[in-house]
């Protein structure tokens, strides 16, 4: 492990704190503050990965995660950008897409096969004859591609989400962003800053050069960051990548948690009134032969390796740069001990005189108008050829690092995803945003400013503009800030050079997809002449870096190659997520949220096997016998208890309560009598049945009604929607959670109930379809109804949730002498099926109307003037004989029941099975099915086609319904 600097003020590492991790099975040590990539670099690793197509060695290049070069598998997670991921103790790091190792990849020979793989070769070859493709595809997929995720991989960590709002959101926490935030905050506004790196400061942070006399850029960054942090109305999100910007100024991103944070990553969705984008620049890659050979890196990367992470990138470095930051890097690294034989500066002139002097003072050779044309060395840079820009004179230098950078590329992504347009600017050689969205401003380096004061002033101005949008800034203040800008240097002139004078066979414009200049030329020659088409045909910019490396080089090169008179073509469109985001982060916390009934705990103790049913968890079985034989027989011959608390329960009251009910229910509820239970149904505007339940009149303008479990959540919305024009005076209250329901069923139900309640529960005193209200022990209010859903003598007791356990225990105690048993949802399902009582959603689907399932008798045709929902459609559907009909069937020759959902077929599909079971009560298999009208006659033979039946049909016959107790004597006894 190399020695690391420990004295630089800019450092973000603590060399005294060693962090162990494993790489390829061996233990290495990084230091606190390292990223995975810097820790590997410090341990001498130079080849981080092999490229997608040619298996070329790849190394540390930019440090900002805009290419796949340093993607590795970390703790089983593939494609981790190790250059932006903080090192944590015990991390297990592996290389990807290699056969052997990154250093010695057996697939490396493919690099020499590039002649066989021109741009678009996937489209051109291996499809004639068609048989070849499946074979070829397998081999290609084996050789190409990046990380692999184990199919059973479980994502460790905690993922959270927050949805803050603010007046001004600043994207980018560099000098411009911080100045913008401070300007807006000083106007009294609430400000949020999103910064991708773990700290504020942007490109000032890692620069030790002079900002003003006796203050370095780094010190200035620290000063601004302190000011921001002590400003209470600025909320700072560091290590937070911006991934999306939407209209209405909705900003999304994700934050990587620190060790002290409660989350691994969290999704952040900020709603802001106005937005300042100060994302700055990345460097524009210089294009020359082998421009991605390990050892080639951008100026900012080399500088940050030294200043932030205390690593001298190598021993001897050649520089081929096109901006003053390159010169600054050379000076800084020279002072730290790097030997620099030559700086090739693309620019003939225009260098910052102070920088130039600093270079010359250090006796570093600088060649103006020169550029690197080829990096030599098989796996790592060993030599560099530089040429004069015209390509006529060349020199070669030994080195182990080549710092190469053509210019800058503004990070305009946040503006572009929010519909800003990019236009080429000749002065900066940038594609700059025009037509900025409303209440959105750009500031800082991304506009081309390089002068530190200009960058800050532009941030200040943008902050005030954002404040002005929030009506917290005067025109005079704005004018002042604009004037201040005018006295400062404007945007810097950008270098125009796109490619060094090379042919470009191994000059890569896109690293992720191994797209060379030659490939781009091939694409254009084939007619794919604009970046969007070149991208699709050659692959440039399609990789995980999402166009970070080809960025502006692609349109600039395409324009140059086609000798376009002016640059009207644009970079490819960027889209959210701007930075690849874990799906786990979008998923957030693991929401397993289910409602539990008041009886939940007791039913679990009683051996209930629970299933998720809608928003609830319900006891479906009470034994491992999923046919529920014992539960069913107990209800048929004795007495059982079911927890029906999930049923929807509502009160509707007020002068127009009846009007509202008449609107949504198909029956005529004006005739309903107090003390009686009225079963009815709701349809939608197509006449399709959506809900059934009972309605009880409790008094004048006061009704209690139930809905099916699944509809409880939408009922109030539904009633209010269909009465929204009427200005009716009624209130509807959801009592679903306030009331529990106990269903006491079986021939012995009366004997149990009479022990608990004081009222007369005889058949005369409490008859079928009647409703009673009473109190148990003068205390517990009960709403009781006599229903027959399961086809036996049955009481449904509606009890306040808080009393549910008490009543349940009373009934259980009273039923002990009869051996009362629980029954679950599945037993109920079979019991009611034997009676051909329907469950909506099981005997119906979205297209099933009231008439189809034989509930037409509920529809009151005499009810007029109510504009009842669905009636108009029912009147029409009545004449339609092509609709499916609900029928009962039993199986032939004592056969078993078909699976639910099996198809009914002859030469085509004629219907399907809703519910079918082997009935213990009847000793045969029966079921209900929806079939085409002409098959609904009694005696029709039905052929069932089951899932995976391999063509072996089973048969049944349409029979009279209900199957069990056709006269309904048992439930009325």
């Amino acid at each position: 492990m190399m020695n690391r600097f420990n004295h630089l003020p800019t450092l973000k590492i603590d060399v005294s704190d060693k962090i162990p991790f494993t790489y390829k099975g061996k233990t290495y040590y990084g230091t606190k503050g390292d990223t995975i990539a810097t820790a590997l670099y410090a341990n001498g690793v130079r080849i981080y990965a092999r490229s997608l197509k040619y298996h070329r060695p790849r190394g540390l290049y930019s440090m900002d995660g805009e290419c796949s070069n340093t993607m590795m598998e970390v703790n089983g997670i593939p494609n981790v950008r190790t250059e932006t991921t903080a090192l944590k103790p015990g991390m297990v790091v592996k290389e990807q897409n290699v056969k052997g190792s990154a250093e010695n990849d057996l697939m490396g020979f493919i690099d020499k096969m590039d002649w066989a793989m021109p741009a678009g070769f996937y489209y051109d070859t291996m499809h004639k004859p068609a048989k070849i493709w499946p074979v070829a595809m397998k081999q290609i997929r084996k050789a190409a591609g990046i990380g692999k995720l184990a199919p059973d991989h479980h994502m460790p960590g905690k993922y959270d989400e927050i949805f803050p709002s603010c007046d001004v959101c600043v994207i980018g926490g560099g000098p411009a962003g911080m100045k913008a935030a401070l300007a807006a905050a000083q106007k009294g506004l609430r400000v949020s800053i999103m910064e991708a790196r773990p700290w504020l400061g942007g490109h000032f942070e890692y620069r030790s050069s002079e900002y003003i006399s006796r203050q370095t850029h780094h010190e200035r960054a620290v000063q601004l960051a302190k000011e921001v942090e002590k400003t209470e109305n600025i909320r700072v999100f560091t290590h937070t990548a911006n991934v999306g910007v939407y209209n209405n100024n909705l900003i999304t991103g994700f934050q990587v948690g620190k060790e002290s944070d409660s989350f691994t990553e969290r999704y952040i969705e900020i709603r802001a009134n106005s937005v300042v984008v100060a994302t700055g620049c990345i460097e524009r890659p210089l294009l020359f032969e082998n421009n991605e050979r390990p050892g080639v890196m951008q100026a900012g990367c080399a500088l940050r390796l030294a200043n932030t992470y205390g690593i001298l990138p190598g021993k001897i470095a050649v520089f081929s740069i096109g901006h003053d930051l390159g010169l600054e890097t050379a000076v800084a690294l020279h002072d730290l001990g790097l030997s620099i034989p030559v700086i090739a500066d693309i620019r003939e002139d225009g260098q910052d005189p102070a920088m130039l002097k600093a270079v010359l003072d250090r006796k570093i050779t600088i060649l103006k108008g020169w550029v690197a044309t080829e990096a030599h060395g098989g796996k790592q840079v060993k030599k560099v050829t530089i040429k004069s820009v015209d390509g006529t004179i060349s020199k070669t230098f030994d080195c182990d690092v080549l710092v190469a950078s053509a210019g800058f590329t503004p990070l305009t992504g946040p503006l572009v995803v929010n519909q800003a347009k990019l236009t080429y600017d000749n002065h900066t050689n940038f594609f700059l945003p025009t037509d900025l969205p409303k209440k959105m401003y750009a500031a800082g380096r991304l506009l081309g400013f390089e002068n530190a004061k200009s960058i800050e002033a532009s941030g200040h101005l943008a902050g005030l503009k954002a404040a002005y949008d929030c009506e917290n800034c005067s025109i005079a203040d704005l004018g002042e800030a604009k004037k201040a800008m005018e006295n400062l240097p404007g945007p810097a002139r950008g270098t125009k050079l796109v490619t060094a004078p090379v042919k470009g066979r191994k000059t890569f414009i896109c690293f992720d997809e191994d797209t060379s200049i030659k490939n781009i030329k091939q694409s254009i020659d084939k007619g794919f002449d604009v970046p969007e088409l070149i991208k699709r045909f050659s692959g440039a910019g399609l990789g995980p870096g999402q166009g970070g490396i080809p960025g502006h080089n692609l349109p600039l090169f395409a324009a140059k190659y086609q000798a376009l008179p002016d640059i009207k073509i644009k970079p490819t469109t960027v889209r959210a997520p701007l930075v690849p985001t874990l799906i786990a982060t979008y998923a957030g916390t693991n929401h397993t949220m289910f409602k539990r009934t008041p009886m939940d705990e007791m039913q679990r103790k009683d051996g209930g096997i629970f299933r998720n049913i809608g928003v609830w968890q319900r006891a479906r079985y009470f034994s491992k016998d999923f046919t529920c034989k014992k539960e069913i027989e107990n209800v048929r011959t004795n007495v059982g208890m079911l927890d029906g608390s999930t049923l929807g329960k509502f009160r509707i009251h007020g002068p127009d309560a009846l009007n509202a009910l008449q609107r949504v229910y198909v029956s005529d509820l004006s005739k309903i009598k107090e003390g009686r239970v009225k079963y009815t149904a709701m349809c939608n505007d197509d006449g399709c049945v959506i809900d059934d339940g009972v309605v009880i009149k409790r008094g004048e303008n006061d009704y209690y009604f139930s809905t099916s479990t699944g509809r409880a959540g939408q009922t109030i919305e539904w009633i209010r929607y269909h009465t929204r024009y009427d200005n009716w005076n009624f209130a509807v209250i959801n009592l679903t959670d306030a009331m529990g329901v106990i269903n006491l069923s079986g021939p012995n139900a009366r004997k149990v109930l009479e022990k608990v309640v004081d009222i007369d529960v005889s058949n005369e005193g409490f008859g079928f379809s009647e409703y009673k209200e009473f109190k148990i022990s003068d205390t517990i209010p009960v709403r009781a109804m006599r229903l027959g859903f399961v086809g036996e003598l049955s009481y449904e007791l509606h009890v306040p949730s808080s009393y549910m356990k008490s009543v349940w225990l009373m009934l259980k105690e009273a039923g002990r002498e009869f051996k009362i048993q629980n029954f679950g949802v599945e037993a109920q399902n079979v019991l009611r099926m034997e009676k051909c009582h329907i469950i909506l959603g099981q005997e119906s689907e979205q297209r099933t109307n009231l008439l189809d399932i034989g509930l037409g008798f509920l529809w009151s045709r005499k009810k007029t003037g109510c504009k009842t929902v669905g009636v108009a459609a029912l009147a029409q559907a009545e004449k339609d004989n092509t609709r499916l009909k609900l029928v009962g069937f039993k199986m032939e020759n004592n056969g078993r029941a078909p699976k639910d959902g099996s198809l009914i077929v002859d030469d085509r599909v004629r219907g399907y099975v809703c519910t079918a079971r082997n009935s213990f009560s009847l000793n045969e298999a029966v079921g209900m099915a929806l079939v085409e009208g002409d098959m609904s006659k009694i005696g029709t033979r039905l052929a069932f086609y089951e899932d995976e039946c391999k063509g072996e049909l089973i048969y049944g016959t349409v029979v009279q319904t209900p199957f069990y107790d056709p006269d309904g004597k048992r439930m009325k006894m």
Binding site: N248, L250, R720, Y721
Partner: protein
């Protein structure tokens, strides 16, 4: 969701809280003289305006009221009046 909606009771809130209830089409037609076609038109046919339309929203995760707003379907932004251009 980038959309914000102004509920008459709860004020401007995140679009997540609301459920869409369709275009404003006027009250339910009278049952008399209703043809299958006119009923179908009322229930299923929409204007699908590219521009500002009046539409119903339900404050599902809030006060539970139905109300209409004007929304520009091309920008997905709420407008104060049907004429509002920008």
């Amino acid at each position: 969701m980038a959309l914000t909606i102004t509920c008459p009771i709860c004020g401007k809130r995140n679009g997540y809280e609301f459920r869409y209830g369709g275009e404003e089409k006027g009250p339910r037609p009278d049952e008399k003289d209703l043809t299958p076609e006119s009923w179908c038109d009322y229930v299923h046919m929409n204007q699908c305006v590219a521009g500002v339309q009046q539409e119903w929203w339900f404050h599902r995760d809030g006060c539970g009221s139905w109300f209409t707003i004007f929304r520009d379907t091309t920008t997905n932004l709420e407008k104060e009046t049907p004429e509002a251009k920008e």
